[in-house]
Symmetry: C2
Subunit: 401 residues, 2 copies
Amino acid sequence: MLSSAGSASLPEGFRACGRSCGIKPSGRSDLALFVSDTAAAAAGVFTTNRVLGAPVMVSQQRVPAGDIRAVVINSGNANACTGDRGIQDAQAMTASVARQIGCRAEQVLVCSTGIIGVPLPVDRITAAIGPAVKDAGTDDADLMAAAEAMMTTDTFPKLVSRDVAAENGTVRVAGAAKGAAMIAPNMATMLAVVMTDAVLTPPQCDELLREATARTFNCIRVDGHMSTSDTVLLLAGGSSGVAAADMPEFREAVTDVCEKLATDIVRDAEGASHFIVVDVCGFDSREAAVQVARAVADSALVKTAVTGNDPNWGRITSAAGYAGIEFDADCLTLEINGVTVYRNGVPVPYDEGALSAVMAEQDVHLRLELTGGPRSGSSQARLWTSDLTQEYVRLNSEYTT
Amino acid sequence: MLSSAGSASLPEGFRACGRSCGIKPSGRSDLALFVSDTAAAAAGVFTTNRVLGAPVMVSQQRVPAGDIRAVVINSGNANACTGDRGIQDAQAMTASVARQIGCRAEQVLVCSTGIIGVPLPVDRITAAIGPAVKDAGTDDADLMAAAEAMMTTDTFPKLVSRDVAAENGTVRVAGAAKGAAMIAPNMATMLAVVMTDAVLTPPQCDELLREATARTFNCIRVDGHMSTSDTVLLLAGGSSGVAAADMPEFREAVTDVCEKLATDIVRDAEGASHFIVVDVCGFDSREAAVQVARAVADSALVKTAVTGNDPNWGRITSAAGYAGIEFDADCLTLEINGVTVYRNGVPVPYDEGALSAVMAEQDVHLRLELTGGPRSGSSQARLWTSDLTQEYVRLNSEYTT
């Protein structure tokens, strides 16, 4: 189920670095830095949790903006639930980067991920920022190092880049992310930084990021538990000289990059043994389709059925049935990996052994279609999720303190 | 964590029976019958799933009513997702009971629980109904036999009775239930029948049942997966001659009976190792408190923390944070089994080993309080749930067909 890390390249005008500053007891790298040589248009999408990490409070006040110069990220400590000191520490991280690259602290964004409720060893971080700024480079290895330094319980780094040919040049979109997984009382977080050398205004950046996030990062369900620190950032440095906001290929590339990072997060979900695509179509609004897909994707019984390679139409259709959308149950049809197992409200015969064997070998694809009646229409939604295994329970119930 | 079955007595004017009619391959009892010697006022609360079992479609058209004479229940087959034939079979079960006791089919309610998508062996059921009606008795053992015949994956029968002294006599409330647990592609269901010899009108029955269900059966969360057949019925036969609708002690007894059955269902949840009480207080509406409590009770990370006896304040407060209620995170306080672990937005020191030991020994009690700010007030909610264990995953992911 693992996805290969692959290689990815930074867009023109960006530098990156990953190194160890001594937060993780393992000595693994825990400080990532992304620098834009130009003042970048930037936008952010943040967790809507009421319990917020300090870096989220600091960063969300600074975007959208037209002059962002860097993103600094530490792993190993989320700087959350630490009161006023947390805010001061997050601000200190940005001030330290600003001093080193010659800009204002407000031009630097910050993210943290790791344990919560423990004050950040901020001196170790600020001491490492000088060398990190000097180290930051434009090679693929630099982007890889930054992606690695963001990892907590991730088993592989998540990074991707896409090139888009425009009339007057080439635009690149690249991103790095870390996965959503939580180990008590540590709490890991979904973080993603997407960079492009396209020319965008801050409002264009904001709109593009919200559109891409709605169809990618907001469509993954690991265990439904939203972290206090989830953050997705988009920086557009403009070095390509290409004004790309209205180019469909460019917008698609941004969504592509976000989708690759988001699905890699699901593929790397704790203890998961199956990657599951949930498609819901034939509803009268995207919201309705999303609501049905969420009920299916979040059902512990659907997840455990997939764990057992069991094409369990009853669990899937009944999860759709309690989603809160008043559709006609006699118009519901279900395909599992292309095999129709339930049509218009009744199960249909199929080769269960063969389908189970396919589920054991491949990604699992659940497709629910509403074929008529109230709430039917032409809207659809796709979510990605993972199964629920004994290993997930073991990882999350082990007493770790 | 098991609750003892205890003994319970039928109210005046009710008879019960449990026997085997040959649906379950194990030969265990699978036909339960409750008969009211008088025409009983009756009400029902049913699953809101869009995918409905045929017995739910039949029974919900027959209540509220003033002349219900019996409830017939089979386990082993849910008679769901079987098209028109399912409706005919459910109707045939009620017609068969009606013939035996001398009433119209519309005066009989029906429930089924077990596998879905497989036609009911209705001839075996109707053949057993005659002997069942003759067998039905008033002893405690008869109620116990009926409760046992409702069981699917339950490990103990669920039944309870309460006596209430009134000025002009004694009123009894008794109930039997089966648990919510699902095994693929079988789908088990929550069913409960509550009987009383109090005198109630059908509207009083309906109002009383809705009130009690809202605070008991609708406050339990096992895995959040709502069945196609969930049903709670209340029958008031009137034999005590006591008009009890406005007696607080009687209303409390009905809620008590429902709470005992509901919490026994949670205590018997598949693979569970902890019984968890989630109290949320200090919110400006009961709805807000329920919404926060549901987010906590449904979180796989909270459940697995409890599995590991881990007083993980971060998972609990962050689950509250994403419930969708815009409270002030700096006004949130958390107690676990009476120990304050998080006060007004920050963790506080406590003896983690001692608290973990208490969690290992006792029911786990999580209490979240909002102490001020927006959305604060005097409303509260209590939910009951169970933890999430490797055994739950094993039970629900084993390939069973």
